[in-house]
């Protein structure tokens, strides 16, 4: 109940933040709007005041919010600041395109899920494992760029941009659907072996039921608890759509939102973000409904609790090798100069002087890669520390943490990034804030579980018995046993956080040029990808290695937790 209350409070806060964007941004948009409307008009005070009055910016924040909410009730989203046209029709047009794209992406995801699950069903007890996890970890913007490069540019099979026919749908749908399919496929494939181990399978087999029917029944048993995951996948699709639509120039709602954020067209941004949030929420609600229908009211309790996505156990050498390759490239690159522009050596192919070639301004790609890593890792480390501090603080308030985590989980980092960029302007700080806002929930959940475990343990009573005051117990016993595992967890999330930062950089919401940020490198190299593919390939490969590191490293985050669990079990066994 309390979690539900904090959840709706969180939702209202997000809505209010969207409604207050024009005020939150703090900067005067009058000049931007004036420039956008007529290039030749002089920015005199009278002209700017007229624009301000026109936009209603002279009223206070509450009046602004009230007017926006009232308009929302009438289905009026206001008019674009830049073009002056109504927002609602453009939002609806974008939504139509995005829905088609998401539908196709969902089809790709389901197809991939089937491909991943069939071997488990046929061969019995093995999981789809590392491959699926890697697919799920590859960010959409990277997949989209790779697809664009290979199928669009080199092979020339498919169009690379626009929205004119079904052939334009293929590449974006694949880029959007593959990570989602990897996630779903892995969930089903991980749950199936446990179901096939249940008693009834032996019984049915003994009674001579055919293998095909047993498998169908097992699938039927796995699906209901899985359906809510479709809601999560839908949330992921709304975030991924922004990147994919931008790469392929698809005129969908995600690209609309991004464009509006970049041009400070706040009414359009409000409408687009609202549509994206609604899309995520509605899909989640629909998934819950489907699950209820699948189970029937009487079966709800007996449903199979889906095991938490198991961390993929890769060979310990895998993260080591990935890290070594990355560190070598970064170290080499750091010793070189990333900023010197040599127009004579533009788009040079790899050579001894430039091991990874040069970019469009003749800058050394390897150097930019190395220096970009230092900046990205530094920012990611700061984000990690911030999330760690937040999660340790909120770990002591589990009810608040649960509700807030629900909201943060339902917001893709890209959409938060768009909102933060709209309020504070694009920049490294804003991107870091956006990623920090969504990266603390898993850490806070871990911290809350540990705090609960430590608080319940008998040795805290023993501490009180020797006369230890509360601060002594907190600083010497509770905090050390919580902070160390949560800090380790945070460290292992570093590559994932760096990826999220890179995706914001790629969309132009993070670091500004000429900073050598990885996402930005990939974005810049797209312009001349046909002439200098290596300039795009280098950051793409580096990001893929980072994704691999994120997955293989995350598996080691779980180890200490299972250790404590075994210990508690033993303790309670003794106490009973």
């Amino acid at each position: 109940m309390r979690a539900a209350a904090t959840r709706s409070a969180g939702l209202l806060a997000v809505l209010a933040a969207v409604g207050l964007l024009p005020w939150l941004s703090g900067r005067d948009p009058a000049l931007t709007v004036l420039r956008a409307r007529s290039a030749e008009q002089e920015p005199t005070r009278e002209a700017l005041d007229a624009v301000r009055r026109d936009l209603g910016l002279d009223a206070g924040p509450l009046a602004l919010l009230g007017r926006w909410a009232a308009g929302l009730g009438r289905g009026d989203l206001g008019a674009s600041w830049v073009s002056g046209t109504e927002v609602l029709p453009s939002v609806l047009a974008g939504l139509r395109v995005s829905l088609a794209l998401m539908g196709a992406a969902l089809a790709v995801a389901l197809l991939l899920t089937v491909v991943l699950v069939v071997p488990v069903l046929v061969r019995g007890r093995a999981s789809a494992g590392a491959g699926a996890a890697m697919l799920a970890a590859v960010p959409e913007f990277l997949l989209a760029t790779a697809g664009l490069l290979v199928c669009g540019v080199w092979l020339g099979w498919l169009p690379t941009s626009g929205w004119a026919g079904p052939e334009h749908l293929v590449l974006p749908a694949v880029a959007l659907g593959v990570p989602a399919g990897g996630l779903l496929g892995r969930l089903v494939a991980d749950a199936l072996p446990a179901v096939l181990d249940e008693r009834w399978v032996e019984l049915w087999r003994g009674a001579g039921v055919s293998r095909a029917r047993i498998r169908a029944a097992a699938l039927q048993r796995v699906l209901p608890p899985l359906v809510p995951q479709f809601g999560m996948v839908a949330v992921g699709l709304t975030g991924g759509a922004v990147a994919v639509e931008t790469v392929f120039a698809v005129p969908g709602i995600g690209r609309t939102a991004l464009g509006a954020a970049k041009s400070q067209d706040l009414p359009l941004l409000q409408g687009a973000v609202l549509a994206l949030l609604l899309l995520g929420l509605l899909t989640g609600a629909a998934a819950a409904l489907v699950r209820r229908r699948l189970l029937g009211p009487a079966l709800r309790d007996a449903s199979l609790a889906l095991p938490a996505p198991r961390p993929v156990r890769t060979h310990p050498a895998v993260p080591g090798v990935l890290a070594a390759v990355l560190l070598t490239a970064i170290g080499w690159g750091l010793s070189r100069d990333p900023y010197t522009v040599r127009t004579a050596a533009r788009l040079a192919p790899p050579s001894w002087a430039h091991p990874l070639g040069t970019d469009g301004l003749g800058r050394d790609v390897l150097a930019r890669l190395g220096h970009g890593a230092a900046a990205t890792v530094g920012t990611a480390a700061a984000v990690c520390l911030l999330s760690l501090a937040v999660s340790l603080a909120l770990g002591f308030l589990p009810a608040v943490a649960a509700g807030a985590a629900d909201i943060a989980n339902a917001l893709p980092p890209v959409i938060v990034g768009i909102l933060v960029a709209a309020a504070a302007g694009p920049g490294t700080g804003g991107a870091a804030l956006a990623v920090a806002l969504v990266s603390w929930p898993p850490l806070a959940a871990h911290a809350a579980a540990l705090v609960q475990e430590v608080r319940a343990s008998a040795y805290l009573t023993a501490q009180r018995a020797i006369g230890a005051p509360p601060w002594w117990i907190l600083t010497r016993h509770v905090l050390p046993s919580v902070a160390a595992p949560v800090a380790r967890h945070a460290l292992l999330r570093l590559p994932g956080i760096a990826l999220a930062l890179a995706s914001l950089g790629f969309l132009g919401l993070g670091a500004r040029p000429p900073a050598p940020e990885w996402g930005l490198l990939l974005d810049e190299s797209r312009a001349y990808v046909e002439r200098a593919p290596w300039a795009a390939l280098a950051p793409a490969v580096a990001l893929a290695l980072l994704a691999g590191l994120a997955v293989s490293g995350a598996s080691y985050a779980q180890r200490p937790r299972t250790g404590t669990k075994a210990r508690t079990r033993r303790m309670s066994g003794v106490g009973a």
């Binding site: 008998a458 009573t461 023993a462 018995a465 020797i466 046993s481 210990r567 303790m571 003794v574």
Partner: protein, 234 residues
């Protein structure tokens, strides 16, 4: 007889609607071992926690060394706590799994701003029959009996007058039990400690206690003296 070390009068402990301890009264002289005996669920452990003020009673008085504990605030209680120490049933659960044995034993001293020397800690460990080299280990690396000895050393560090022993040997192997009970008996004679000994095992109680209070469903049903102390001179 001198003033009692511990005097409990009309103690009441409720868990929700059920009354776990229902107007229990007893007293304990310095150096005496009083056993609370009864089946599980009779309110023994609730009484122990209430005497220790680790769970505040819902009624009644607890006088320790002539001071009324139930009216003291948590802050006022803290300096008194080292003088009445518990030894719990679960030997592992009462020690922090992260702490080295040395630090666990030294903690009660550090709490009062002292800086225990390695020799002091070693002497405490030796007193409870542990080799001082165990100080480097953590609770997981010790047996249940050894951990219980560490718990006793920790209690002794506060120089207590009264130990509340809540089923101190129930979780241990029978072969280890006798050793721990002998240690407790030695300490009682050596330091004149009073023991409030919670135990469901009549045989153990008969050999160990001076006086036994029987509890049933939260009430005192009878009080008796084992033959050992009945034969002993007063």
């Amino acid at each position: 007889m001198s003033e009692p070390l511990l005097e409990v009068r009309d103690l009441v402990v409720r868990h929700g609607a059920t009354t776990a301890v229902d107007h229990v009264s007893f007293s304990l002289a310095p150096g005496e071992t009083l056993a609370l005996n009864g089946p599980s669920g009779c309110g023994k452990s609730s009484t122990a926690l209430a005497v220790l003020q680790l769970r505040r009673p819902d009624g009644g008085q607890v006088r320790f060394e002539g001071r009324e504990l139930t009216t003291l605030t948590e802050r006022e209680l803290r300096p008194l706590r080292p003088r009445l120490q518990p030894v719990f049933q679960d030997p592992y659960g009462s020690l922090s799994p992260r702490q080295r044995i040395r630090d666990a034993v030294a903690e009660p001293l550090r709490l009062r701003g002292r800086r225990p020397t390695p020799g002091q800690v070693a002497a405490l460990l030796e007193r409870v029959g542990l080799d001082p080299s165990y100080g480097d280990r953590r609770p997981r690396e010790l047996s249940g009996g050894q951990c219980q000895r560490v718990g006793i050393a920790r209690a002794l560090a506060g120089e207590p007058r009264l130990l509340v022993l809540d089923e101190p040997v129930s979780a241990l192997d029978p072969s280890v039990r006798a050793g721990v009970l002998n240690l407790l008996a030695d300490l009682r004679d050596e330091r004149g400690l009073g023991y409030l000994f919670i135990c469901h095992d009549r045989d153990v109680v008969r050999h160990f206690a001076d006086r036994v209070v029987e509890l049933r469903e939260g009430r005192v049903t009878s009080e008796w003296r084992p033959r050992r102390s009945a034969a002993a001179p007063r």
